[in-house]
């Protein structure tokens, strides 16, 4: 084979191999780190996996927000009008978080179906509803 052509072939093979390894790895890690969204009803019915990072959302139940005396530990219920899920979180809540408003939390569920959140999101302006929640009500409407 012509040396130039041989070199080119080597490069092409090398690139093909690295591209396929990269794609496989990216796909694998992507699946590992993708947080699926569950509604409070799905969690209450035990459809959500325990101990896996996931997202949940709904309306913060009015009167459910409780704070610890000495720390920033917070507890509240998130509901989709049918079921509600207890959420715990330690830290600062976003500016637009309040009872009666919608929220999306990321965290893991324990065996008592309590969601331990590591991140709490509120809608970031008054015109915006988290898409998952808009979708949740839409699905129910139909």
């Amino acid at each position: 084979m012509h040396p130039l052509r041989k070199q080119r072939m080597q490069w092409i093979c090398l690139m093909l191999i690295s591209v396929s390894i990269a794609t496989a790895l990216i796909g694998y890690i992507l699946r590992q780190n993708a947080n699926f969204f569950y509604t409070p009803s799905q969690i209450a019915n035990g459809q959500a996996p325990i101990g896996v990072s996931l997202r949940a959302g709904g309306e913060v139940v009015v009167g459910s927000l409780k704070r610890a005396r000495e720390s920033l530990l917070i507890e509240f219920h998130v509901s989709d009008d049918w079921h509600s899920v207890k959420v715990t979180y330690e830290g600062i809540l976003p500016d637009l978080f309040s009872e009666g408003q919608s929220t999306v939390v990321t965290g893991k569920i324990d065996d008592q179906n309590i969601l331990h959140a590591v991140q709490v999101l509120a809608k970031h302006d008054e015109n915006y509803t988290p898409p998952e929640i808009a979708g949740m009500y839409e699905d129910r409407g139909t």
Partner: protein
């Protein structure tokens, strides 16, 4: 007088005329280049200038409507307010969809006119095709504006007395500059794209082409760099929570073209100097522009907030998607037809500058694939009903942290290697000594840092960061020393200093980001007046809290005295603001900044009994992130200014390369 002259209707008409001129610009020179009509080909230049004039006029009219509070214009009413200071009224022009698209079109016209006026050295046929392609892109966006998102639309019959407000988050100086700079970068990538397409049309991808393409690519890459770093800086101090990069889809949309254009400026060097990677370079130019179109699509169509939002305004989303598929589809088809002809016939060994540049390109391409998949996967999954998914920072960090370090290690290797071949013996001699030295520097540095912070969380990654960065610094330093031995300071080309500065900038940014992740600490605390908190060897004393008002917002301001080892350093005053025009509460962080460390405090929500939730940060070397960004952009600017790209030189080279082609003498 001015107000009546520059009416929204005039703007609308100017936009229509500008778009019509763009149609001619897209058709005439191209047709002329195939039928050999020199007159038609020459028209490209004046049409580009005419297009710029009318689009600029349209932009002036819209700005005038904002500055004179003309709330009969719907777009103004939605995004401005009489209470806004004048400079925010002006920046509100591009704060939402319609206006920012007009800015997009204006910037495209500016780039096109710049190509038309500064490229006297280009062969007429090549220039006319390039201008025609830029004209066609301008047509696409001009029609998009006119038919789906007209910024000049009036609200009849009842205009509001006052407008809604500009989102308070956007009321910031960095945000006045961020979008135009980012767009200058995004849209600027249309120029190398047009060069690549017209080179494909002529089946000539040679080193002259790479030479023409390089300054334009570099210039838009510089703007993109400044835009991205400015956005990150804004997120750091304005969003109020101390992060600098969030892997937000909007950020990713700007990162992808940046990564590809970074690869492009490197492969263009190899294509120009050695004639290698030519078809690959063309492909990169196509991808760079396609990804900036994709970015525009993602940010501007509303798909990002939700696939449902996309459905609520399908016209806009469908239009950009259609435009995107036409651009990508036709350019890739052209590439498939013409690409094989371009296969380069040059040889180089496995250890050479070519190979290292190739590795650079591979790493950057993998990085783009990571970002692209991570950004698109949730959208695709939602669109096909596979479940609602979000992909968070852990995914991106998993790939980006190692990729960045590998890329960093190859920077000095590529800089110091020669074209063609460099022996393994020389390579290993470079590696061993600086490696040991940087290991020592890393150990000393990370233990000093651990001592200073007091509770370092991850001293191993601090060590790795410091080691790699100091290694790169040493290698670059040695390179400069050796180059100066062979030449004098003034004789080395400006672009060499640009390259050194930009690469040092990359190392500085990695230093900042690495130490932010490894040694930066933060804590959320509950504090009342008179309370103390401790973090990173600092003492925080909550001394006071006040409520007051400014012209357009109410605020609550805490006063926190920071001291270290008994010495008072600074009093920081984080705020919570409530703007009158919208019910949003805003967090204004207070920062005591320095090159060596930032102390950053943000005020959270009020708790019971006058207690407050407060977030404290101590971040060593965080400003290196943006300092490095400034160095990268400045380095790029120096490279653009190199006299290699000046007109005369190009003509000479061009004549040498293409004696067959007739070039008009100046």
């Amino acid at each position: 007088m001015m107000n009546e002259l520059l009416s929204p209707e005039l703007g609308h008409i100017a936009l229509i005329i500008g778009s019509c001129l763009a149609v001619f610009q897209g058709v005439l020179p191209l047709a002329g280049s195939y039928t050999g009509r020199v007159r038609w080909m020459q028209m490209g230049r004046s049409l580009a200038c005419g297009n710029l004039f009318f689009i600029f006029l349209a932009f002036l009219c819209l700005s005038n409507a904002f500055l004179s509070d003309d709330f009969t214009v719907r777009y103004v009413a939605q995004n401005s307010n009489t209470l806004l200071p004048i400079y925010f009224k002006f920046s509100a022009v591009w704060s939402a969809h319609e206006g920012s698209l007009l800015l997009w079109v204006l910037i495209l016209s500016i780039w096109t006119a710049a190509v038309a006026l500064l490229s006297n050295g280009l062969p007429l046929q090549f220039l006319s095709r390039t201008l025609a392609i830029l004209g066609l892109i301008s047509v696409g966006f001009g029609f998009f504006l006119l038919f789906t998102s007209n910024p000049f639309e009036r609200t009849f019959p009842l205009p509001p007395i006052d407008g809604q407000d500009l989102n308070p988050l956007l009321q910031d100086i960095a945000l006045i500059l961020h979008p135009p700079l980012l767009y200058l970068g995004y849209v600027g990538l249309a120029v190398p794209f047009a060069f690549a397409i017209s080179a494909l049309l002529e089946s000539r991808i040679d080193s002259a082409w790479a030479n023409w393409s390089r300054p334009w690519t570099l210039a838009s890459w510089c703007f993109l760099t400044v835009g991205i770093f400015l956005g990150s800086w804004w997120a750091y101090y304005e969003l109020g929570w101390g992060g600098w990069w969030f892997w937000d889809p909007v950020e990713n949309a700007s990162l992808m073209p940046w990564l590809v254009s970074t690869a492009l400026i490197h492969s263009l060097i190899a294509a120009e100097q050695r004639g290698v990677f030519r078809s690959w370079t063309v492909l990169l130019a196509i991808f760079a522009f396609s990804l900036s179109l994709l970015g525009t699509f993602l940010v501007r169509s509303g798909v990002l907030t939700s696939v449902h939002a996309f459905a609520s305004d399908p016209e806009r989303g469908m239009y950009i998607l259609l435009f995107l598929s036409i651009v990508i589809g036709s350019s890739l088809t052209l590439f498939a037809i013409r690409g094989p002809v371009l296969m380069s016939a040059s040889s180089y060994s496995g250890s050479s500058r070519e190979t290292f540049l190739l590795i650079n390109n591979l790493i950057l391409t993998v990085a783009v694939a990571v970002v692209l998949l991570g950004t698109m996967y949730p959208l695709i999954s939602d669109a096909f009903g596979l479940g609602k998914i979000s992909v968070g920072p852990p995914y991106f960090n998993f790939f980006f942290v190692p990729l960045t370090f590998i890329l960093l290690m190859f920077i000095p290797l590529a800089m110091r290697s020669s074209w063609g071949h460099v022996s393994v013996k020389i390579l290993s001699s470079w590696l061993i000594q600086p490696f040991l030295l940087s290991f020592v520097v890393g150990l000393i540095g990370s233990s000093m840092l651990a001592h200073w912070v007091g509770e370092t969380q991850n001293s191993f990654s601090a060590l790795v960061t410091l080691m790699c960065v100091s290694w790169v610094f040493m290698m670059i330093f040695v390179d400069v020393k050796e180059k100066l031995k062979l030449s004098t300071f003034t004789k080395l080309p400006v672009r060499y200093y640009g390259m050194v500065l930009a690469h040092l900038g990359v190392a500085v940014t990695v230093l900042g980001a690495g130490l932010y992740a490894s040694s930066g600490i933060q804590k959320d605390v509950k504090m009342g007046v008179g309370d103390y908190a401790y973090l990173g060897g600092h003492e925080f004393y909550f001394s006071d809290i006040k409520h007051d008002r400014m012209s357009n917002f109410l605020f609550t301001r805490a006063e926190i005295i920071v001291s270290r080892e008994g010495r008072e350093i600074v009093t920081l005053k984080p705020e919570k603001r409530l703007y009158f025009s919208s019910p949003q509460t805003m967090t204004e962080a207070a920062i005591d900044g320095g090159l060596l460390r930032d102390i950053y405090i943000s005020l959270g929500e009020p708790l019971d009994n006058n207690y407050w939730a407060i977030r404290l940060h101590v971040k060593p070397f965080v400003r290196c992130i943006w300092l490095g960004g400034a160095m990268i952009s400045l380095g790029g600017l120096l490279a653009v200014l190199d006299k290699r790209y000046r007109r005369r030189k190009i003509i000479k080279r061009d004549l040498e390369n293409l004696s067959a082609q007739s070039v008009p003498e100046m």
